[in-house]
Symmetry: C2
Subunit: 371 residues, 2 copies
Amino acid sequence: MDQGVVQFTDIGFGDPLRLRSGASFGPYHLRVETYGTLNAAKSNAVLVCHALNASHHVAGHYADDPKNIGWWDNMVGPGKPVDTNRFFVIGVNNLGSCFGSTGPASINPATGRPWGRDFPVVTVEDWVQAQARLADHFGIDRFAAVMGGSLGGMQALSWAIQYPERVGHCVVVASTPKLSAQNIAFNDVARQAILTDPDFHGGDYYAHGVVPKRGLRVARMIGHITYLSGDDMAEKFGRQLKGDAPRFDFGTDFEVESYLRYQGDKFSSYFDANTYLLITKALDYFDPARDHGGDLAKALAPARAQFFLTSFTTDWRFSPERSREIVKALVANRHRVSYCEIDAPHGHDAFLLDDARYHAAVRAYFERIEV
Amino acid sequence: MDQGVVQFTDIGFGDPLRLRSGASFGPYHLRVETYGTLNAAKSNAVLVCHALNASHHVAGHYADDPKNIGWWDNMVGPGKPVDTNRFFVIGVNNLGSCFGSTGPASINPATGRPWGRDFPVVTVEDWVQAQARLADHFGIDRFAAVMGGSLGGMQALSWAIQYPERVGHCVVVASTPKLSAQNIAFNDVARQAILTDPDFHGGDYYAHGVVPKRGLRVARMIGHITYLSGDDMAEKFGRQLKGDAPRFDFGTDFEVESYLRYQGDKFSSYFDANTYLLITKALDYFDPARDHGGDLAKALAPARAQFFLTSFTTDWRFSPERSREIVKALVANRHRVSYCEIDAPHGHDAFLLDDARYHAAVRAYFERIEV
């Protein structure tokens, strides 16, 4: 049973946002969904931050689209680990995304045409700033918790640094304090596939009535490989052929090819290429220790939240080692932190899956959060 | 000091080769280089098989191109681990490659135009069959050793199975008995980047006066990530920026981006896209256990060679575990096998590098080969 019927709202912000790049951007709007009820003290709010291809649609379904279930519906809802009978949960689509908030496909009022390549490069810190304004809109001074997985976990971490007094608990799942050279390399190949697609047109493909589907498809296929563990791929697909024998051509020989091509085709039919570029760039840039000579403990010193981190053993994109770096930096600051390393076969994608031990740990953590 | 000045020769074969796909192909020629002197008994020959983007040019340099040093020159030469004062070493460019042997860019005599998409899909077994004919050409009944790294190691392994009486020693470096689902996935994304490049023209780009550079470039970038270890990338590039600060655009921010793009650009300027497709397919198909119900020991039962295997700890493309599978299957057959696992930081590419322990092990092994 999912959360039930939900609705989204667009919330406008008139004042420009001052971005890390030095640019200002605005007005803009953010698309938002909420679940549960904000209590009178406004002390039970939980902000859920999304990763690369997710959105404000965290849980439930729309009345007119019952199959479109929110991306973390197994985590958020009545009686679920993040229990909406107790908590008021906010899902927000980030600035620059393509699911309803202002992004590269939105109309630039100055030109009357889509922003395209003129949409500014945004960072995790910029998103957090925009989310803080959203909290102001709801009159929420302090979140009971800010949580997210992967890139969403970076936002939660950044919240604890940027707005120490406004975060009670910081829940960081399958994340990292910064991308490795290999992580950046994968992102850059994906970007190069998009940027060099002739249908990209320098980011102004909207005007040409095309989308750089080929590039987006390859980008997604690359990404998808990094979301799964090698073991999981071996288990799911192995060397299984689609047919009875090798084809000896360049059609679809192996099941794993069929799966990845399908994922690439699907993604390229709905995701905006400029958004893909922006979001991978935000991932690459995230590095809160950078302004502190690479010292993550110094970067986390201002935090006042209590922390809960989870990682998954077979996640080779953001391995447990990366979560442990955060834990060590928190411990060095004598911040309160709980850390849970789940032995799970599903690689990075495990954070989205319904693993009993993982969900039990998150449930137990949220049960002790006072509101 | 390299091997010195070398020359290549093209050797023609009139009879068609019967391929695994069922097709026949021929006449064709192979481009070959040799180093050292074949003894009167013709018992000191070593065949070196190449991997994806290498060739017959194993060692030395050409008189008119002194900077073009052979790809395994640190391994093969006078006084080197494979000592050409003792051994007669043959390097051969495989059928379907793009460095001088008959391949997709060669003229199809039936049409007067390049083979392009009509070039047959070849397998590791087909290459080995062609190499056996090459041995016949030299009057070599039995190789003192057949050796190779990565895809070259697959050929060495296949030699030991296909021609048990013709291989004295089988030297398999950084290889695997078959690709994993993840390996195939990376190959397929690379192929998709090429196949969907508008300049690919269904493989007949020669006729259009273009090459699918964009696709080849992305393919090579993907491949390159898998050749290096994460640690090696971290050590070499880390999160080092090219400039003083983030650019906030999609230019070259990080050193690792600059390196990968350079590698992609270079590769796409000389490598044939159809060859890339063919060779990755040969990698995907290799699975000698397949005809034996998945039992590698059964597949290796006919072998009569002595075996020497080497793997590298940080190689995540063909990890030590994959070499150990081969070792176990050999031991199950009571075949003679030596195995060496080198603790090296350089990932898959380590097999091409001048690591003292690795070279000492190969040297020691070759010193005890009687000729």
